[in-house]
Amino acid sequence: MVVKSMNKLRKDFLTHLKEEIIAENIERLKDKKFKIVVHMGTCGIASGADEIKKIVDREAKRLNSKEIEIATSGCVGFCSREPMFTVEATGKEPVIYHSLNKDKVKKIFDNHIIKGQIVSELEPILKDSKLSYFYKYQEPRVLHNKGKINPLEIKDYIREDGYRGFLKALEMNDPYEIIKIIIESGIRGRGGAGFPTGKKWEFCYNAISKSGLKYVICNGDEGDPGAFMDRNLLESDPHSVLEGILIAGLAIGSSKGYVYVRAEYPLAIKTLENAINQAKKLGLIGKDILGSGLNFDIEIYQGAGAFVCGEETALLCSIEGKRGMPRPKPPFPANEGLYKEPTLINNVETFSNIPQIILNGAEWFNSVGTDTSKGTKIFALTGAVNNVGLVEVPMGITLRDIVYKIGGGIRGDKKFKAIQMGGPSGGCIPEKYLDTPVDYEKIKDTGAIMGSGGMIVLDEDVCMVDIARFFMDFIQEESCGQCTPCRVGTRRMLEILERITQGKGEEGDIEKLEELGKMIKETSLCGLGKTAPNPVLSTIKYFREDYEEHIETKLSCRRLHRKEKVKKV
């Protein structure tokens, strides 16, 4: 693809548009004293954000004030405190009110809005308040728009410098310059395996397509249980993902992109659809984009509920309309992908990182992080912590800081037991490794993996054999069944785990699990099988006593549990 010379490019288009939008905003907001932003992601809505929005509308109407602007945005990441809204007053720090209900909203209107007094008894989140620690240690880069933009409004995204990274990429003389920046930045794939993104782009750039077609695919299958980073990005900042895909298309010389989104995410699909339509209307997706000669189309492809389809070669089968069966690599998708054409596959969060890398430069990106892991990573922090939510942290922060500073420690007066990272391909990290930094290699050394970002904190009440059984059950359900070690081997492992958790474990079971695990890892075809034994092996490694206790006492999880409770009293 040849990008036309710069004088033809409508490069001022975005600058003008942004200025217009800002002017429009100033005009609209000039008489406003307050802006109330209701946060409406999936969790917010499930917790009643819709209803809160209605109450806010009603209250504002009751005051008959022209000084209040009401807006909505995506999620602000603090799931356990939904529903929430932010009150922004001119010239003051924003105040986030959480766990809202009708009475609280009334109180906020009566005091904060009418009298200008922050309602401190509701413990709002503001500078240095107790809950502000949830945000204090975060580094919102990918999530820089959270709470600020309405995901249904492309204008909001453009106001926050949206599509400027893409414009900058369009202005480069040679698409390879884009790839050079991505390589220099050191960014690695956020979908789990951590492959260097720049290198992958370079492979696709160099790949030769006989028909001239290349594809870009955004992997939004997000199958790991306990992970919702990608859902949030698609729901709350969909244009950042689209912009990343456009830049990739330009870099490797592709004209067609797909976003593969799992069917379990209806709001993400709806929001993304709307975003694509708006971008098309502005001429940012489609033919001759901004007068550059670049053609690029983006289409959504809905998954149909199969974990294995997150694996890239299975995903390709699925888009082609077949059962999602992984195939051996090589050939890699970069050379032989969708319909056998060169195909670039990256994760949602990976794409969402790209616009800012182009806009701010490789050095800006890798100014945070460790030697081998640059930038920030988003985690879905859930389970037994006080503060549950979506957090973005600089690589290199320790797990302890995430659990205790951001997560606010363990709920109740329970003891920490483990962090599960990486879902069914990952493992459990015990207390003694809590000072491990977030870093692809260091996490791997513990026996877990960085994974896509699910981070489930488990307390002392959880039986680790049961957790291992849970993941093995999951794998059994989701194995595509084409290779024997994965299909039969995991079934055997599950049987043993079920026996143990039912109090029917036998001497030698642990060794059998280890043996089977090793065999499955070595002989499976795809990543699903190769990593399937990890949750079992890592729990045996660190929590062998949980296994042994079951086997020795011949007690089931329930019995063992009850016994402990009695002991404590």
């Binding site: 799931c79 356990s80 939904e82 249980p225 306990g226 199969a306 309309g321 859930t382 489930i456």
Partner: protein, 163 residues
């Protein structure tokens, strides 16, 4: 499940129209099979063999391949869903917070296993993969509404409040 276990289902006239419409819309597109099946299931609630046969001939794909795809993906179902479709999330966060107890409870109360529909076609129950709403676990989804922080002891009250 084997095909012979399935009740024979004759497509109603308007259902046939919906099936045809879905097929015609995507007929000439590459990789049309899954989107077409999704649309049909959205419109008529499930994918009876009769509909699969029409899809096979309409898209010019062997019947066994259509069936293979329908059985491979967990979102597709050949059993009619109930008027009230209950999905219980069994992701990790929901599991450690009692998701299993919730689904067992519902199954016991309604007298069906996950994947089944009550004979009066009022309720159907499914175990769902992680819905990514872990922050408000454990959750269930009734039709399209997400219910958060569900207490197993009170789950039936929530369900019976839908009529």
């Amino acid at each position: 499940m084997r095909v012979i276990d399935l009740p024979k289902y004759d497509l109603k006239k308007e259902e046939i129209q919906k099936v045809d419409k879905a097929i015609n819309k995507s007929k000439n597109k590459r990789g049309a099979l899954i989107p077409v099946l999704q649309e049909i299931q959205r419109k008529i609630g499930f994918l009876p063999i009769e509909a699969q046969k029409k899809v096979a001939s309409g898209l010019n794909i062997p019947e066994k391949d259509v069936y293979g795809v329908v059985t491979f993906y967990s979102f597709f179902t050949m059993i009619p869903r109930g008027k009230i479709n209950i999905r219980v999330c069994l992701g990790t966060a929901c599991y450690v917070k009692g998701g299993k107890r919730i689904i067992d409870r519902i199954g016991r109360e309604l007298g069906i296993n996950p994947g089944e529909t009550t004979p009066d076609r009022m309720y159907s129950l499914q175990a769902n993969r992680c819905l990514g709403a872990c922050g408000i676990a454990p959750i269930i989804v009734i039709n399209d509404k997400v219910c958060q922080k569900v207490d197993p002891a009170k789950v039936m009250d929530i369900i019976y409040s839908y009529k």
